[in-house]
Symmetry: C2
Subunit: 187 residues, 2 copies
């Protein structure tokens, strides 16, 4: 178990397809798929990062349905996934929360769909994490990805996920699942 | 590229959580995420298998939007993913179509979230596929997974995807992405 590893799904600041800095909407499917994957790979927490107040209420309604409402009876395993979900306004708030919860300094890893200069492979990252007692936060950007500022401020940049084809447009749900499996999958 | 490899998402016959044999609904998100992942990992085709006529129309509407409508202008990369999507009524029709398209005999691989007797690891599967000129069809069940009959009739059963945690409830979108990466990811 990786009780000192966390994931954040960033809705601001991220890029749209024109390269403008925008705030994306939280989607129901992201919450479901990413919390289930985070649970499967043993993460301690999944943070949804959005500065928009109404989005908090939206996430709360969904979590409530599966944690207390009809959903709990219908599918109890979903509650177990949603128990590790929280919402924060900013990435800084997220890091603060992890510091408080884990009692450790937090090191951030950002994922980028584009190749960049200082990137690490998942294998190298895996070894770094295993050898270190700090808390680790994996950051994924929604929309067209994290801004340069978020990427430059991260402690580490993870290599883009690649297949053999000349096409590189995975959904964030797929990218998260694949990176978690590359870092912590049991084969 | 794996021009002889295909994926099918089965909506019937699959199990519901009580173990009854049911038909699930096609979801918009499955079409998007799985076509994008299939394209990224170089597959030749993604089949949506459902016997329900109305679901055909639903899939057609979505494909049309992104292949010809506003979606094509807004996000041309989505068209490229959707170009490999088709709908078939049954698994048998799917296998026939692949035989016709590829001109090769088709070998089927089923994925199961439960451990079973004759399962192969992704690594073993990868070697088998690489060493063989047949067409290969990876079958994923929606709902609570494929029926025993579908599993027993498949030529191969792939090991369940596992993380380090005692929780094993990935979405089918996550499971597909991870299996494609384990079989054909470039690291």
């Amino acid at each position: 178990m990786h009780s000192h590893c966390y994931i954040a799904l960033l809705h601001h600041p991220v890029l749209n397809k024109k390269g403008d800095i925008v705030t994306t909407a939280v989607t129901n499917m992201d919450i479901h798929d990413i919390s289930r994957a985070s649970r499967t790979y043993g993460l301690a927490g999944f943070y949804i990062v959005t500065p928009v107040r109404q989005q908090y209420d939206f996430v709360d309604r969904i979590l409530n349905h599966w944690q207390k409402g009809f959903g709990l009876t219908y599918n109890p395993s979903r509650k177990k996934a949603f128990d590790i979900v929280s919402v924060k306004e900013t990435l800084a708030d997220t890091v603060d929360d992890i510091t408080r919860q884990s009692g450790r300094p937090v090191r951030t890893i950002v994922t980028s769909a584009m190749a960049r200069e200082r990137t690490l492979s998942c294998n190298d990252m895996k070894e770094l994490i295993a050898a270190d007692d700090d808390a680790w936060l994996l950051i994924f950007g929604t929309g067209w990805g994290c801004t340069d500022e978020v990427i430059e401020n991260a402690d580490y940049i993870l290599e883009p996920v690649k297949g053999p084809a000349d096409y590189n447009h995975l959904s964030v749900r797929s990218a998260v699942s694949i990176v978690l499996d590359r870092l912590w999958g049991v084969r």
